[in-house]
Amino acid sequence: MKALLLAVLLLPLCAYFGVIAFAPRILALPCGAVPLSLPLALGLIWLGFLVTILYVRHANRREGGQS
């Protein structure tokens, strides 16, 4: 589970910095009324929080099962 969550966090993050570094024009693509850059950045910020919640729930359940 930990490896999966690391992948869920790091793959989009690497892709995001990769896009800024090598293909920043992608960020200008429209996403509704705003460019893709805004929902992408805010989505990644909250993805970090989602990953922590999923890990805490999983780890607490695992520990509860063991005790």
Binding site: K2, L5, L6, L9, L13, Y16, F17, G18, I20, A21, F22, P24, L27, A28, A33, V34, P35, S37, L38, A41, L42, L44, I45, W46, G48, F49, V51, T52, I53, Y55, V56, A59, N60, E63
Partner: protein, 495 residues
């Protein structure tokens, strides 16, 4: 007396009250360093967020949105990513293995004093650079906000941080950070709601007006030219994400909770609060572009923001709620500085008294009471040192020191800690070499880079092209750990 001064005095009295309460509960070394491991998960989460969100995160981020637009969000994404990484990679292990300092975690595997010395040196350097940045920023900010002379401002911050830490230890530091975090969140929410209310609760309207008013136009929603070098972007991402995982004042907060469950909860709380704060900052920054950046009330004769870009959030507070809200926000910024400075001093004092005095000088044979006394003297020494250095660095470009502190944290303690916890092949000499090479290379590359070589030393071209060296210094630290461990593995297994 104006609102800002009343609010500031109220906050100082509140935090001194907390210190007096905590001082009665701080009699042993465990109570001083870790609040006796009795801090709850949610409390530690708030304190972690309070420790991490400095005045730069509040005032600086809004100012960065005004000046460089979208770059502020790129920084936020990179920085926030460090928190889930901290939870997944380090938080539980820190709680399981740590006693008082990060060096204790390493000592579980490498009892050699050389490893503890390396860890203590890196912690002290990072704390010192970070402390200078905070103190200089505090002095200038308080001078600007309250009209107090720089030296007096720095002396007051130094005296208060010494009182919090020396008397109340980790318990006082924790509660000062909790109070500050709640106040900062309340301010952020008030400002963001104020911006949305003035925008008719329409984000589309807000964004359209930010684009219309910003000099970059639609470019305000895209990375700026500062992020046009691909290597710079990747290096920045690595530095921002991994820097957090080597900051001693953040890592040592995981020793204050009773168990790994609470350690996880605290990382989760901190991540949520910081994510919320970064989101609010985006709204506040956009509001500052729309309502402040072109408002003649807040501009000087040259059309620049009064007091510089860092004052954007304070001007916005004035626009939304008049001088009352501006005064309250200014006081909260002051509390923010105090809390961050107290956390840093706590980390520095622990390193001096526990790592250097108790474990290296006394070889672990010292008494609890003596160690506690040394930690209080260490706090006094750190406070005096920070005041002196912040006076010397008053006219320097302190942003370089902040970058250096983060680069050092990512390049020194982080690779050593990660490898010590997860790679059985690491040797003691490999750990020491990795820490030393990581920190030395980060320092040298920053000096040779554009931030120091060109901007400070005045040369035409930098020797090293990137402002952020993390891509190279972190890689070099990992490579050194691998290479030296391979070379010394046989010798250390025999001894």
């Amino acid at each position: 007396m104006n609102i800002a001064q009343i609010a500031m005095i109220t906050l100082v009295l509140l935090t001194l009250g907390i210190t007096a309460w905590a001082a009665r509960r701080t009699q042993s070394a465990a109570q001083f360093y870790t609040a006796d491991h009795q801090v709850r998960g949610w409390q530690n989460g708030l304190a972690l967020a309070g420790d991490y969100l400095s005045a730069a995160a509040f005032l600086g981020a809004a100012g960065l949105v005004v000046s460089q637009g979208y770059d502020s969000l790129v920084y936020a994404v990179g920085t926030l990513a460090g928190w889930p990484l901290l939870l997944l990679l380090l938080a539980e292990k820190l709680r399981e293995l740590g006693r008082y300092t990060v060096a204790d975690v390493l000592a579980h595997r490498f009892p050699q004093s050389s490893v503890r010395m390396m860890s203590a040196a890196s912690s002290l350097l990072i704390v010192l650079f970070y402390l200078i940045v905070q103190m200089v920023g505090a002095g200038k900010l308080i001078e600007l906000m309250f009209g107090v002379p720089y030296l007096l401002a720095v002396l007051s911050v130094g005296a208060l941080m010494m009182l919090y830490v020396a008397l109340g230890g980790m318990l006082a530091t924790t509660w000062v950070q909790i109070v500050k975090c709640c106040l900062m969140l309340a301010c952020g929410l008030t400002l963001a709601l104020g911006v949305l209310a003035r925008s008719g609760f329409s984000l589309t309207w807000l964004i359209a007006h930010a684009v219309a008013l910003h000099p970059e136009g639609a470019g305000v929603l895209l990375p700026s030219k500062a992020l046009s070098n691909p290597l710079e972007v990747i290096s920045l991402g690595i530095g921002l994400s991994f820097g957090l995982l080597g900051l001693p004042h953040v890592l040592m907060r995981f020793f204050t909770v009773p168990d790994t469950r609470a350690a996880r909860a605290s990382a989760c709380w901190a991540t949520g609060i910081i994510a919320l704060f970064f989101t609010l900052n985006a709204v506040i920054g956009a509001g500052a572009i729309v309502f402040v950046s072109k408002n003649p009330v807040y501009l000087n004769a040259h059309g620049k923001l009064l007091g510089g870009g860092n004052m954007a959030a304070l001007h916005l507070a004035h626009f939304i709620g008049g001088s009352t809200l501006q005064g309250i926000v200014a006081a909260v910024v002051f509390a923010t500085i105090l809390a961050v400075v107290a956390g840093l001093t706590m980390a520095g004092a622990s390193t001096l008294s526990h790592d250097l005095y108790a474990n290296i000088l006394r070889r672990g044979q010292g008494q609890d009471g003596a160690e506690l006394k040394v930690s209080r003297w260490a706090t006094l020494g750190l406070a005096l040192g920070a005041i002196l250095l912040s006076t010397l660095f008053q006219q320097q470009n302190i942003a370089v020191l902040m970058g250096l502190a983060f680069a050092l944290a990512a390049s020194g303690p982080f690779p050593v800690l990660l490898l010590a916890l997860f790679w059985p092949g690491l040797t003691a000499r490999g750990a020491v070499a990795a820490g030393a090479v990581g920190m030395a290379s980060a320092t040298l590359l920053i000096i040779a880079g554009p931030a120091v070589w060109v901007a400070v030393l005045g040369h035409a071209h930098p020797l090293f092209p990137l402002s952020n060296p993390a891509l190279f210094s972190v890689s070099l630290a990992f490579f050194t750990a691998w290479a030296v461990s391979r070379i010394t593995a046989r010798q250390e297994s025999h001894s």
